[in-house]
């Protein structure tokens, strides 16, 4: 099966200018830190990134924005990033904002071979512009299509060398959905184990969805809002 690569540099082989990437995480929680660092170092440009958020100025996808590697962001919330706002208002960066549930479902649909579905979210709003509206049971819905992406890049807690993944707590978020959805799926994990070490009953992402896997290093896991009792 040989899905194991040595590090992020190897994992991102084949990602080239103009591609569409999915990147897991909610805020800075559960983001693929190693792969993002490698993408920044690679200098790859003109990317379309599908990610719920765009990182902060000096971490996460924010690092790729600093390097002007991103042409377009598809996100649900981008309010934590001054450089993002600057590029957006200056017209350097394109952004498509989508309801969070729609973003999740369009990832999931891509991974489920469902080309399109209907959702009530965004009906009557800017989000619905140019989209088909249809009534079911007296309620209005809009049609949303599955995302097309070249690579999906996710971060898991544990994974085995076959590609099975488990996520921790709310670091799960978009990761399992994007893992299903990429033409090629890259997973970085905090702990890489042998097949059989994960309980088959409690795996979040079955191996078949994962193409490349490696154990990441130096996780910073930055916290955006450190709230305590």
């Amino acid at each position: 099966m040989n899905k194991v690569v040595n590090n992020a540099e190897e994992a991102i082989q084949g990602i080239s200018d103009g591609m569409t990437l999915m990147l897991g995480g909610f805020g800075l929680c559960g983001i693929p830190e190693n792969n993002i660092r490698a993408l920044v170092n690679s200098g790859v440009k003109n990317l379309t990134c599908i990610s719920n958020n765009a990182g902060v100025d000096d971490f996460g996808i924010g690092l790729m924005l600093q390097g002007k590697q991103v042409r377009k962001m598809i996100s649900s919330y981008v309010g934590e990033n001054a450089e993002f706002e600057r590029q957006l208002l200056s017209g350097e960066l394109e952004v498509e904002l989508l309801p969070q549930g729609t973003l999740a479902e369009r990832c999931r649909a891509a991974g489920a071979g469902i080309p399109a579905f209907y959702t009530p979210a965004g009906y009557g709003t800017e989000v619905a512009e140019g989209k088909e509206v249809r009534e079911f049971g007296g309620k209005k819905y809009i049609m949303e299509e599955a995302f097309q992406s070249d690579f999906a890049i996710v971060k898991a807690w544990k994974g085995d060398t076959d590609g099975n993944l488990i996520f921790k707590a709310t670091a799960r978020n978009f990761n399992p959905l994007m893992a299903m959805a990429g033409k090629v799926t890259i997973a970085e994990v905090e702990e890489l184990v042998q097949p059989g070490e994960l309980d088959p009953n409690f795996i979040h992402t079955p191996s078949i969805f994962v193409n490349r896997i490696f154990q990441g290093v130096d996780y910073e896991k930055r916290i955006e809002q450190r709230t305590v009792k």
């Binding site: 805020g27 929680c29 919330y77 904002l97 989508l98 959702t119 009906y123 707590a169 709310t170 305590v228």
Partner: protein, 217 residues
């Protein structure tokens, strides 16, 4: 006039035993502080947590355990984690009993705007559009007017809409209003606030019928 805390406290009176509740960022978050003792209310955080507990101690802090406001939180017995698709499955299928949101504007048909100020602020809707499109029971917590003193309770929205005809109740610093077919229906007044003050601060259709009691907590 109510403080933010009092707005939250008043909204907490709408909670019922067994409710699953989603609280938005800002004043809505404060509602959690006023859940009546002994009442079983479960908080859903749309990033993937049902059964959100209080903030952690310094020792308990876990970067992998946050809420939708990106704050570090804890779990409770019976808590469960899930992915974003399942989270919004709960929301769109109407399993969340009460949703409390902030708003920039609400109109007298129950339309809400809270995600964008064209040319000025682009933050995004996050989960708000999914919530307002699906929830049966949406309460808005907001200030009645903006900093310039202009009404945020309108006949027509000025800002891009988040969802249509979805808000059922609004609790502001001035009053409690239900949204009915006839517009904003004044139900309760903040202590010391007159009907006239509410009328002056409301641009949408406002129904005042009979004596309006003071808000009690």
């Amino acid at each position: 006039m109510l403080t933010k805390q009092q707005i939250a406290q008043r909204i907490a009176k709408e909670l019922k035993d067994g409710y699953y509740v989603n609280l938005g960022i800002g004043i809505p978050t404060l509602v959690a502080n006023y859940v009546p003792a002994g009442m079983d209310v479960t908080l859903q955080s749309e990033n993937g947590l049902l059964g959100m507990g209080p903030f952690p101690t310094e020792e308990e802090i876990d970067a992998d355990l946050i809420n939708a406001g990106k704050q570090t939180v804890t779990t409770l017995p019976g808590s469960v984690f899930f992915d974003s698709a399942i989270s919004f499955a709960m929301i769109r299928s109407g399993r969340v009993d009460l949703t409390v949101l902030g708003a920039m504007e609400v109109n007298d048909k129950g339309d809400i705007a809270n995600w964008k100020i064209p040319g000025k602020m682009v933050k995004g809707m996050g989960g708000a559009m999914d919530l307002v499109a699906s929830a049966q029971n949406i309460i808005v917590a907001m200030q009645h007017t903006n900093r310039a003193g202009q009404s945020k309770l309108l006949k027509e929205l000025g800002l891009p809409v988040t969802g249509l005809e979805c808000v059922k109740k609004v609790v502001t610093n001035l009053c409690v209003m239900d949204i009915t077919d006839r517009g904003f229906e004044l139900k309760e007044l903040a202590p010391g606030v007159s009907v006239k003050e509410v009328q002056d601060a409301t641009l949408g259709r406002l129904i005042v019928q009979g004596d309006i009691p003071d808000i009690s907590f």
